[in-house]
């Protein structure tokens, strides 16, 4: 039972054994970060292109570091131009990149399905680094790796995913991954930020923070995505933070003492998380970032290190 996929597009398409293989590979690669010389020759001569149509700090940087630690050549191709929209020009850019014969293209785009479109168009491996509000599989994998390291197992864990679920690709990828590994998931947020039919993904829904965080092992706080928001979804930031912001006080009176607080970043301090919680003892937010590099090394290694067998 090994890795046979050419692309990593969604968590939805992976089965539990593939997810565990990715996490195990990443866990084994973590040791590289502790070395004095952080480089192994595994992907020497491979070319990796970061194609980012949306701003990103941690995802783009961690893919770049991951590629470089594996000795691949990493090129950042940011399509910053505001005139760039989906459709022909996206494909044209993609074909231009393909003409430089990269081995892996990592793509982030504001439209759902952008990575899938590239996978159908380009001859190389594609990694989805976030497509609209659809999926962000490497974020889910690093969340899962963080949870396993802290809790030692997955089975029977209960996770609350709280906040702006409607706009969150992280929530979707997390839900698919967590459900496949036997975890229970509750999503919680104001009704306007909970997508309709979300129960069909096998999750419970709660409309009150205090109920959602009771007796869970992990609380995943989501970033309130003002930039994707049209008017009228929340009355005001102040009201949102009052009802949905996680504070030490709410944690102390409603959550378990060994709960993990996670956040995919970047944190809106004082809105969804109070600074005391973000920097507090429950928080594993920086562990998530560290694990992100290991997960991306694992993904690149399995995709670019298995040429000749991919379908």
């Amino acid at each position: 039972m090994g890795w046979t996929r050419k692309h990593l597009l969604t968590m939805r398409e992976l089965d539990a054994s593939e997810i565990v293989l990715l996490i195990d590979t990443a866990a084994s690669l973590q040791e590289i970060a502790t070395r004095e010389i952080k480089k192994v020759p595994a992907l020497r001569g491979k070319t990796i292109v970061n194609l980012f149509y949306e701003p990103s700090t941690r995802t783009r940087t961690s893919f770049e570091i991951a590629g470089k630690w594996l000795s691949a050549d990493v090129i950042n191709f940011s399509a910053g131009g505001s005139s760039t929209t989906k459709g022909e020009s996206f494909i044209d850019t993609a074909k231009t990149i393909a003409a430089m014969s990269p081995d892996v293209v990592i793509v982030r785009h504001s439209s759902a399905g952008a990575a899938e479109l590239l996978a159908r168009t380009l001859p190389c491996s594609i990694v989805n680094a976030g497509d609209g509000a659809h999926e962000h599989p490497t974020q889910a994998l690093l969340d899962l790796l963080t949870i396993r390291e802290k809790k030692a197992h997955f089975d029977g864990l209960h996770v609350a995913i709280v906040g702006d679920v409607a706009h969150s690709r992280v929530a979707r990828s997390d839900i698919h991954g967590m459900r496949k590994l036997g975890m229970t998931v509750t999503v919680a947020g104001p009704p306007t930020l909970i997508p309709p039919f979300v129960q069909e993904l096998g999750v419970k829904v709660s409309y009150r923070l205090e109920d959602a965080i009771r007796d869970v092992d992990v609380i995943m706080m989501l970033r309130l995505q003002h930039e994707r928001m049209t008017n009228g979804l929340i009355p005001s930031l102040r009201e949102y933070s009052r009802y949905w912001g996680l504070t030490l006080e709410k944690l102390a009176s409603h959550a378990r003492p060994d709960v993990l607080i996670m956040h995919p970043g970047p944190v809106n301090r004082g809105i969804e998380l109070s600074p005391e919680v973000a920097d507090g003892p429950y928080s594993v937010i920086l562990d998530q970032v560290t694990k992100g590099v290991a997960v991306r090394m694992g993904v690149l290694l399995l995709l670019a290190g298995s040429k000749g067998e991919a379908p």
Binding site: T4, S28, L29, E36, P41, A42, L302, E309
Partner: protein
């Protein structure tokens, strides 16, 4: 998936449990003799059976000399010269929880064949620091080297043909201590 794996049948036994143990005892003595004692010596075993053999050698040296030598685990997958030719790599991780700087590192593996694994291991070790020296301990040297590599300590030299395979079976993994030559079953 990969091409069908040929089935092998046992052709001859090379070492039984007593002979295997005697070979390891002798190698432990040779290590102490060659290095003038056990100070500044560390073991690094190659996954999977090299690690087990490294632990056994360390235990022997502890019996003989009283020295508790560190044992590390090396996974050379990231350094293979055939990465990408054999399907997706399976990474199981390197774990060397001590500094190898200025140590004499004894690299341990079960079978020495083409030498390509040892070549990768040398690169992997040197990426972790600059050891004083690296020595190679091997249970079975079966010949057919493709690189200029020779072992410092050998349990047994075993002339083989390329179509044969050498199976080192260890208690910890296989429930028995035994080395056998296997040959492919004819269709």
């Amino acid at each position: 998936m990969a091409s069908p794996v040929p089935r092998f049948r046992e052709k001859a036994q090379v070492l039984d449990d007593a002979a295997l143990d005697r070979a390891l005892t002798r190698i432990a003595h040779e290590i102490l003799e060659k290095n003038g004692g056990a100070s500044e010596v560390a073991f690094v075993g190659l996954r999977t059976r090299g690690v087990t053999l490294a632990h056994r050698l360390a235990a022997k040296i502890a019996q003989i000399d009283g020295a508790a030598l560190p044992v590390g685990t090396l996974d050379i997958t990231l350094y293979r010269d055939d990465l990408g030719l054999r399907g997706a790599p399976l990474i199981r991780g390197t774990d060397i929880p001590f500094s190898i700087k200025n140590k004499t590192v004894i690299l341990v593996d079960d079978v020495l064949f083409t030498g390509r694994t040892v070549r990768a291991a040398l690169d992997a070790i040197i990426d972790l620091g600059r050891p004083k020296a690296i020595q190679l301990a091997i249970l079975i040297d079966r010949g057919h080297r493709e690189l200029p590599i020779r072992p410092d300590y050998v349990g047994k030299n075993l002339p083989t043909s390329r179509r044969e395979s050498v199976a080192v079976r260890l208690r910890e993994h296989d429930g028995e201590d035994r080395v056998v030559i296997e040959e492919p079953e004819e269709a």
